[in-house]
Amino acid sequence: MSLSLEQVSKVSGRDTHIYTTDLTLEGGSLNVLLGPTLSGKTSLMRMMAGLDAPVTGRILWNGDDVTGKPVQKRNVAMVYQQFINYPSLSVYENIASPLKVRGLNKATIKKRVNEAADLLKLNDMLKRKPLELSGGQQQRCALARALVKDAELVLLDEPLANLDYKLREELRQELPRIFTESGAVFVYATTEPTEALLLGGNTATMHEGRITQFAPTLDVYRQPVDMRTAQVFSDPPMNYLSLSKQGQQIQFGENQNIPAMGALANLPDANYTLGFRPNHTLLEKPDTEVMNFTGEVNVVEITGSESFIHLQHADSRWVCLTHGIHDIPPETKLSLYVDPAKVYVFDADGQLVIAPNSEVN
């Protein structure tokens, strides 16, 4: 099973929602569309479903051209951010509804509904009406209905966004298992990098109507092809520093410079942007060779076990995530240290030049 988008684009009036895009998704795979609001996630999904026709290009299902084939004639299931259930039907009837439409016999329907209810822990609620359920249970009912169809393509558009934080955590843990047990192509849209990491699978990062990268989720996180991708796939945001490499020095800000160390030493002289993640900053100087920067504290957020120190470094805002409680007053000058093995380097066009050494596994 596979879904391919070939040279697909979507324009509406003067607005381009999706620039020319190629993408192939395999059966049994979970594919995350990660990007901010209005980056094109929903537009792309609507074309995959057959709800909208692309302006250019073709959509292939197992190699067959299905462009323009309406959604009713495709075996597609969708789940939206807003829970959609039939309010007058019981949970059982809600889950059973797509099977009834297909005219399956009662025994088969019962078996399939019970399987889906098992998977989503709805067994005790089958007789209730959706509005008697909590938000999380309502969304699980919508998910069960999508799964029971045995659809070949399942599209989930920010399905957990309206749920409580803890419930999201539990469902995120269950969803990958549900996905692998089905054989369908799953597409899951989210704005949250953490959610993509928890779900695993593959991730396509989206920015202003374009897919910037598509690869296994951790590969995209560890080796983002460009600054846009790194930005979309970081939470807290990555810290950036514009610099100029000249010989054995890197210069930044107003006449500040430090030695070009690590992989930076071997780069040709040019302008670059350095990027490093907030969890890769140190407040104490280690024994190894490190880059040293000084910033001014804006505000510190404490989570109970960690501190997010927000710093102003010249024109940039940086976040430094450290273990322990560091309640540092605003406007304090703070030294921070960055291991050169943990930095990303992007060239003047924002393309990745160096990624941190991959960690051993």
Binding site: L197, V299, E301, G304
Partner: protein, 363 residues
């Protein structure tokens, strides 16, 4: 600015409540200090919005009083309580400029344009909005609109408190960071009493001086983020705070030895419990570690699953039928051969019928 006293406060949505079960908000008596930031944290249906609505005056409590700086405001309508409110969805006039939006509450009260200008410029500067004052609100991003909502509350003089009801729900993750930081910086500057309702632990912990943790209508703990993390007063707090939450393991304790399905764990303190009590150990995934070799106090586990989430990994281990989550720091390798689990003993909490047993309380 005001101190808020919730005096013997409780609320039931039924006309004649009978037992505790009929109360959406169980009885509380708390004084919230002037100028501090409080977060009301809990899952949906826990009573946090009920409490917020009582403070804002949208709801009249069935029992007790609300006092602002000692003055009973229980019967006052919202508009006479001098509070600013920010809701999930921004409340702005799309066709007006940012300046006119911010000026609206003052002009409505017939203030002079000189005063309006002074206040609007002051607030705009604090919210980092001076360069968009001439723009129509319509074209702005969700986070900018949320700042206007906040600014319209702040622009009035003598705001007693600022109330936030899930204000970051519609904001994208990147802008959440920025807006959260600006809110926090703003709190340092204006020193208003702030009350922030959310189900998101990160928002609550990072925003608040004091987190008010609610569960099933009860306030189960009020404490600093550190207290909630290290010493959760109730197993629910342990579960709710942290991702994943605290491991809660049924156990039998005899003296300073805890047994989990026959496996022994030494405790830093000694305990004695009645046989009918439900006793559990609470240990956060951050304070668990896995190794290949048996250690002094290690217990055998099997690894069921390892999830790599970039910053760290979460190992899901099986301890004699109990799931135990372990957070493995980035850069440390982990395989299913890591079958020995150790706890940082100083970070083990003991619970009796779901409530924390204070250390040294029994000896």
């Amino acid at each position: 600015m005001a101190e808020i006293h919730l005096k013997n406060l409780a609320h039931s949505y039924y006309p004649n409540p009978k037992g505790d079960g009929d109360y959406a908000l169980k009885k509380i008596d708390h004084v919230w200090e002037d100028g501090k930031a409080y977060a009301l944290l809990g899952s949906s249906g826990c009573g946090k919005t009920t409490l917020l609505n009582i403070i804002s005056g949208l709801l009249h409590p069935s029992d007790g009083q609300v006092l602002f700086d000692g003055v009973d405001v229980t019967d006052l309508p919202t508009e006479e309580r001098h509070i600013a409110q920010v809701f999930q969805f921004p409340v702005v006039y799309d066709t007006m400029t940012v300046y006119d939006n911010l000026a609206f509450p003052l002009r409505n009260r017939g203030r002079s344009e000189d005063l309006v200008k002074e206040r609007v410029m002051h607030i705009a500067e604090m919210l980092e909005m001076t360069d968009v004052l001439k723009f129509k609100a319509r074209g702005l991003t969700a986070d900018a609109k949320q700042k206007i909502s906040l600014g319209r509350g702040l622009v009035r003089e003598n705001v007693a408190a600022i109330l936030f009801d899930e204000p970051l729900t519609v904001i994208d993750p990147h802008l959440k960071w920025l807006l959260r930081m600006q809110l926090k910086a703003l709190h340092h500057r204006v020193n208003n009493t702030m009350i922030y309702v959310t189900h998101d632990q990160t928002e609550a912990l990072t925003f608040a001086d004091q987190v008010v943790m609610m569960y099933d209508g009860y306030v189960v703990q009020i404490g600093t983020p550190q207290e909630l993390f290290e010493r959760p007063a109730h197993t629910f707090v342990g579960y709710f705070i942290g991702s994943p939450g605290m491991n809660i393991l049924p156990t039998h304790i005899d003296g300073n030895l805890a047994k989990i399905n026959g496996l022994s764990v030494s405790l830093p303190d000694s305990y004695k419990f009645d046989a009918d009590k439900k006793i559990e150990l609470g240990i956060r995934p951050e304070f668990c570690s896995l190794s290949r070799e048996e250690g002094l106090d290690s217990i055998p586990v099997s690894i069921k699953r390892i999830e790599d989430i970039g910053r760290h990994k979460i190992a899901r281990a099986d301890l004699a039928g109990q799931e135990v989550n372990v957070i493995v720091p980035e850069g440390i390798s982990i395989t299913d051969e890591h079958t020995h689990l150790s706890f940082d003993a100083s970070q083990i909490n003991v619970y009796s019928n779901d409530w924390l047993v204070e250390r040294g309380a029994q000896s």
